[in-house]
């Protein structure tokens, strides 16, 4: 909000901008109304458009915060936070949430189905009717199944829409195992590392923790509710936040201590903390005895990782590591090493997350107030369907590419490598739902090559993303404020159920995902369509069949909750989802697979002379590659820049604000230089979501640079998670 103030974006201007945009967006429909009036001459029976407040869920990022849409005369006038949604979003709504109106009233949004008429990426389209576009999609899907194999059709999607289930259902019913979701561009090594230890990926009890160490998670800008809010509200100043980041972010500004750690060395710091806690006897003896396995092995293994050793790796003084270890252990169990969310940093990421998990475990920070909490989820009735069985369909293309791969998610870096050489079989068709492959997946040139080799690409989205721009058919989905979406249980220490109901009618010819899936299914054959033969209302009734109160509360309060506080000790005496049923400090299953059963530190590749390590990261204005074109958010941050330390800028003879060329082994981008002390001299940083290719994103076309064009395709061999901080770049004047 402070940034809104500094930009003088007053409420009056905010609403003014909204109205202008609305005028633009609705002009087509008004012409139709005027024509109708001219025919009849009747102006006495006007129908007022609805004025109401509608409970729904935000769709601007992953959090799904509670929203009340203030609809006035059929127009979404304003979005307010839903106070009933306190358990998750603390009754707040961020800048992105507020800017949601501009998703609906966006002149750039997709309005009707489009079919490509020029070369791919040339931007020549013709408007098509839904029938023609859907026929073309089904025809190509059938042709690919006949000519190659059903597995030759890939389905890329991401979470957040509450409707992804239907897209994945279509993939399964069509018969392709190749669904490719977002986790390997985000948190799959986090899930893997923590689940290998605790049997699940828990959530830190930020609100009740007295001591938090945070690295790789810029929680004041990479917003996760309620953590981002809870983190900033220490209980009487008792809470201490230790923050490690090569950049001075807004989280650093809010922390008690900030250490500009050398990138890729977090594990050295964590292992040294474990070393101090074990050698000084600061661990929770009883907890370790009752709830863990492998402490003896850990004890022997950790001896080598002294604070003095770690200091040379991570550049944090040994005496500070000893002090922090002591403070952490003394505050335990109300102490957490916060694991963050995105974990696509280095190829050792799963083992680094294992180290984090082990540190939390040895001080007993598990299933207790202020510690790591196993998530809970409110059960909804499952929507099950029987997909047709097809013989001779290949296995997943990326099968066996990583030690542990999710069948539903796959691994983007591994999948693409194999698809580019058609090994073990070719991928020739691409269905995309919401995911923006060309912006999200490292090494854009490879993604473009992948798209080039496709016989057919269809993208379903709300704007002309880069991926849509390179597609053959583009289908417009209704936005999250126009859709009836099914209830979805949001897991966490205090679980909630959220859903979406339409605040206004879907504009132009946009349609909800379920309708689009049903129409494609119908064209693919009766056996597939039979699994889609239900309405959204019937689907929702089925989900809440066991507890209809869920729907009543969603309609009347915008949220369903069963409790307002976390429950502690739920797993006391219970078996965890690990092989031993206990917390596995030593992982026998990793040993069996030939992986390190305890985290072994390996130094990151040193930064070559005259090069810099490229870092990526979030900030509070944008969500990945999806919102940079939103007019309100664009107003706050119109372009990205390259952060460079003044010492290095001086060495290179570069000045603040000058355009520079950034070159990696796989790409070259040009953008503005920001000379700042907020970054280490060996690294550079640029915000995500700029340097786009699509001319359908009018605010950001030709503005800034694309990080995806520069990042090399590397990954963690255990989880398949992309490693986005292993790219080095050269900088020179543009």
């Amino acid at each position: 909000m402070s940034s809104l103030r500094t930009k003088n974006l007053s409420r009056r201007r905010f609403i003014g901008l909204s109205s202008c945009a609305l005028t633009t967006a609705l002009v087509g429909s008004q012409v139709t109304v005027l024509k109708a009036l001219a025919k009849s001459g009747d102006v006495s029976h006007t129908t007022p458009l609805p004025t109401q407040d509608v409970f729904t869920s935000c769709g601007m990022c992953v959090n799904k915060c509670g929203v009340i849409a203030r609809v006035r005369d059929g127009v979404i006038h304003k979005l307010d936070p839903n106070p009933n949604f306190f358990a998750k979003s603390r009754a707040m709504l961020c800048a992105r949430g507020n800017a949601g109106t501009k998703v609906v009233y966006d002149p750039d949004r997709l309005k009707y189905p489009l079919i490509r008429v020029g070369a791919r990426g040339e931007g020549k389209w013709r408007r098509a009717g839904w029938g023609e576009a859907l026929d073309l999609v089904a025809k190509n899907m059938n042709e690919i199944a006949e000519k190659y194999n059903r597995a030759s059709m890939m389905f890329a999607s991401t979470e957040g829409t509450f409707s992804e289930h239907f897209f994945l259902q279509l993939a399964e019913c069509y018969g392709s195992p190749n669904t490719l979701r977002h986790p390997t561009l985000c948190l799959s090594s986090n899930i893997q590392g923590f689940a290998a230890t605790f049997g699940t990926n828990p959530t830190p009890d930020v609100r009740n923790a007295d001591y938090i160490i945070m690295s790789g998670a810029n929680r004041a800008e990479a917003l996760i509710t309620p953590d981002s809010i809870d983190m900033l509200k220490g209980d009487g100043g008792r809470r201490k936040l230790i923050y490690l980041d090569p950049r001075f972010t807004k989280t650093a500004a809010k922390a008690d201590e900030w250490y500009p750690i050398k990138p890729g060395t977090d594990m050295a710091f964590i292992l040294a903390l474990i070393n101090v806690i074990i050698t000084e006897g600061l661990y929770d003896d009883d907890f370790i005895e009752e709830q863990t396995v492998g402490f003896a092995e850990l004890q022997a293994h950790i001896q080598q990782y002294t604070p003095e050793w770690a200091e040379k790796e991570c550049e944090i003084p040994a005496r500070q590591i000893r002090r922090i270890a002591n403070e952490f252990a003394n505050a335990a169990p109300k102490a957490v090493y916060y694991q963050g969310r995105r974990s696509s940093f280095f190829s050792n990421d799963t083992q680094m997350r294992r180290a984090m998990a082990i540190l939390n475990a040895i001080v007993g920070s598990w299933d207790t107030e202020g510690g790591l909490l196993p998530n809970q989820k409110i059960a909804l009735n499952k929507h099950d369907f029987l997909a047709p069985w097809y013989d001779d369909v290949h296995e997943r293309l990326d099968k066996g590419g990583a030690a542990y791969l999710s069948e539903k998610d796959g691994s983007w870096p591994i999948f693409r490598e194999r698809a580019l050489v058609a090994e073990p079989y070719p991928i020739k068709g691409m269905m995309v739902y919401k995911q923006n492959v060309l912006v999200s997946v490292p090494d854009r040139a490879k993604s473009l090559a992948l798209m080039k080799q496709m016989d057919f690409i269809c993208t379903i989205d709300i704007t002309m993303s880069d991926t849509a721009w390179y597609s053959d058919v583009v289908l417009p989905e209704a936005t999250y404020l126009e859709r009836l979406d099914p209830p979805e249980g949001l897991a966490g220490p205090v679980p909630v159920v959220a859903f979406r109901q339409p605040c206004v009618e879907a504009m132009f010819e946009s349609k909800p995902n379920l309708w689009i899936m049903q129409q494609i299914a119908k064209r693919l054959g009766s056996e597939i369509y039979a699994t889609f033969d239900f309405s959204m209302e019937e689907h929702i009734d089925h989900l809440v069949k066991k507890n209809p109160q869920i729907l009543t509360d969603l309609r009347n309060k915008g949220v369903y909750i069963e409790k307002t506080e976390p429950e502690y000790g739920r797993f006391t005496g219970k078996r965890l989802r690990t092989r031993s049923g206990k917390i596995e400090l030593y992982s026998a299953k990793y040993a069996k697979k030939g992986l390190d059963p305890l985290p072994v530190y390996r130094s990151p590749e040193p930064v070559p002379v005259n090069k810099y390590r490229l870092l990526v990261g979030r900030h509070a204005y944008f969500t990945h590659g999806t919102t940079a074109n939103n007019a309100y958010l664009h107003d706050i941050m119109p372009e990205n820049s390259l952060w460079l330390n003044p010492r290095e800028a001086k060495k290179l003879g570069l000045r603040n604000g000058q355009r520079v060329k950034v070159k990696s082994a796989v790409g070259e981008e040009r953008l503005k230089l920001e000379v700042t002390e907020k970054i280490r001299p060996d690294s550079v940083y640029m915000a995500h979501g700029f340097g786009v290719l699509s001319k359908g994103l009018s605010n950001i076309k030709g503005v800034g640079g694309s990080d995806a064009a520069l990042i090399e395709s590397k990954y963690c061999p255990i989880s398949g998670n992309a490693a986005m901080h292993e790219t080095f770049v050269e900088i020179s004047p543009a």
């Binding site: 195992p177 979701r181 899930i191 990926n201 029987l386 296995e395 542990y404 989880s719």
Partner: protein
């Protein structure tokens, strides 16, 4: 007739004993998912007579023991081929509560 069926099934299980021991390696998990939904969910869904059963209802070793020791009633299983049972076993093993299949997001 019932006795004959039981004998047939027992003989079949004995014959397949070695392959069941390798169930986790030889079955087609995707086919097993289809068969589990088609054959098992009719009785083992929520509210149905067999009570709800999902892959998460057992650990990997429990699923293997369940199939190896033929813990299901003979009538229900006799119509399935050895390969069908192997595929179903593979699916349930691969998605058991302590399986290698990671959690996901969304």
């Amino acid at each position: 007739m019932r006795i004959l069926k039981l004998i047939t099934l027992s003989l079949f299980l004995v014959a397949c004993c070695s392959s069941f021991a390798l169930a986790v390696e030889d079955g087609n998990s995707r086919k097993g998912k289809y068969l589990f939904k088609k054959n098992c969910k009719t009785c083992h869904s929520d509210g149905a007579e067999g009570g709800e059963i999902t892959p998460l209802s057992k650990t990997m070793s429990q699923w293997d023991r369940f199939f190896k020791k033929s813990k299901h009633s003979a009538e229900a299983w006799e119509k399935f081929s050895g390969q069908d049972l192997l595929d179903t076993n593979q699916f349930l093993f691969d998605h058991a509560v302590d399986s290698d299949q990671p959690e996901t997001c969304g």
